[in-house]
């Protein structure tokens, strides 16, 4: 239910990160999500896709890594540079 907010938080962070590298385009962002984080990965992927579609970040992809506890953190950002 709150996966939309999480997806929006990921996009904000990606925008902040790419603002520092204006020439690059973000291709994929990796996040780690714990079993106890209260986040449903499928629902997050769904919300993420919906938010990216038609936005300045399209076609950004999301890669989700699972973890055992309540992790909810960034892992990497893949950038395409001219």
């Amino acid at each position: 239910m709150h996966e939309v907010g999480i997806a929006a938080g990921i996009l904000d962070a990606v925008r902040k990160e790419t603002a520092m590298r204006p020439a690059a385009r973000a291709v994929k962002v990796g996040v780690r999500i714990g079993e106890m984080a209260g986040i449903d990965p499928e629902s997050l992927a769904f919300c993420f896709e919906a938010l990216v579609k038609g936005s300045d970040l399209e076609p950004l992809a999301l890669e989700i890594h699972r973890a055992p506890a309540d992790e909810l953190e960034f892992v990497f950002l893949e950038l395409e540079e001219p």
Binding site: M1, I6, G9, L79
Partner: protein, 232 residues
């Protein structure tokens, strides 16, 4: 294509608001607990019994969340401490912004202890940080001892489990030790108290936990009851 490491927690809007609240609570030395449990598990009843035991000079306040009605605030206001109702109009949890709005006009410098009663729900409130020092999960003995396994998120995140309505243990086939074992399977370090708001059984344990948990703060609230007085 290059891959750069990215660090930090994924923060949504709520977490930003919660971080601001936490900083505010810490600046004013307010000890805040967030009570979470299913509808009717006894959150308001436990708070009523708790407020009843406090000396009126204590600097304690309560925010209580429900989807509709201010019935809980009306119950809690009878003890003379500041109480505000948050009605979420549909939302199944409180979020940090609702808490911030509800605190409007209260001078946190005049508070030592703030109880937040969340909307009755074992799932959604788990994911919303309210800037509290501790989440507390309530599990009443009529809910079944397997609840910690079915709803692991809140038992994992809570620092204390209050098993409530223990006066009913003789009448329900609830194995308290199994419930506790299940909670510890999810969260080995979870502390547990058994209480009845009806008879007052276990209240000293609950008040002792509150006092110990807030010991790091220079809180001035004193817990009434024998052998339970905090230094002023």
């Amino acid at each position: 294509m290059i891959r750069v490491p990215m660090e930090g927690k994924v923060l949504n809007e709520n977490e930003k608001a919660a971080a601001a609240l936490r900083a505010e609570f810490s600046r004013h030395n307010v000890f805040v607990v967030n009570l979470i449990g299913s509808p009717g598990c006894g959150k308001t009843a436990l708070l009523e019994r708790t407020l009843e035991s406090f000396d009126p000079s204590r600097r304690v306040a309560v925010l209580t969340g429900d989807i509709q009605t201010d019935a809980d605030a009306a119950r809690l206001a009878r003890y003379g401490f500041p109480v505000r109702q948050i009605t979420t109009a549909g939302a199944c949890h409180l979020d940090a912004r609702m808490v911030r709005n509800a605190l409007d006009g209260w001078d946190l410098a005049n508070l030592d202890l703030l109880f937040i009663e969340n909307v009755g729900n074992l799932v959604c409130p788990t994911s919303y940080d309210l800037g509290e020092a501790h989440k507390i999960v309530l599990l009443s003995v009529t809910e079944g001892e397997e609840k910690p396994l079915k709803y692991p998120g809140i038992f994992f995140k809570a620092d204390l489990m209050a098993m409530t309505k223990i006066d009913l243990l003789p009448y329900v086939p609830f194995r308290a030790d199994v419930a506790e074992r299940n909670a510890r399977q999810i969260h080995p370090g979870i502390e547990i108290v058994r209480v009845s708001s009806t008879t007052g059984a276990g209240m000293e344990d609950w008040l002792r936990w509150l006092r110990a948990a807030s010991a790091g703060l220079a809180v001035h609230f004193m817990l009434a009851g024998n052998n339970c007085r905090a230094p002023v």
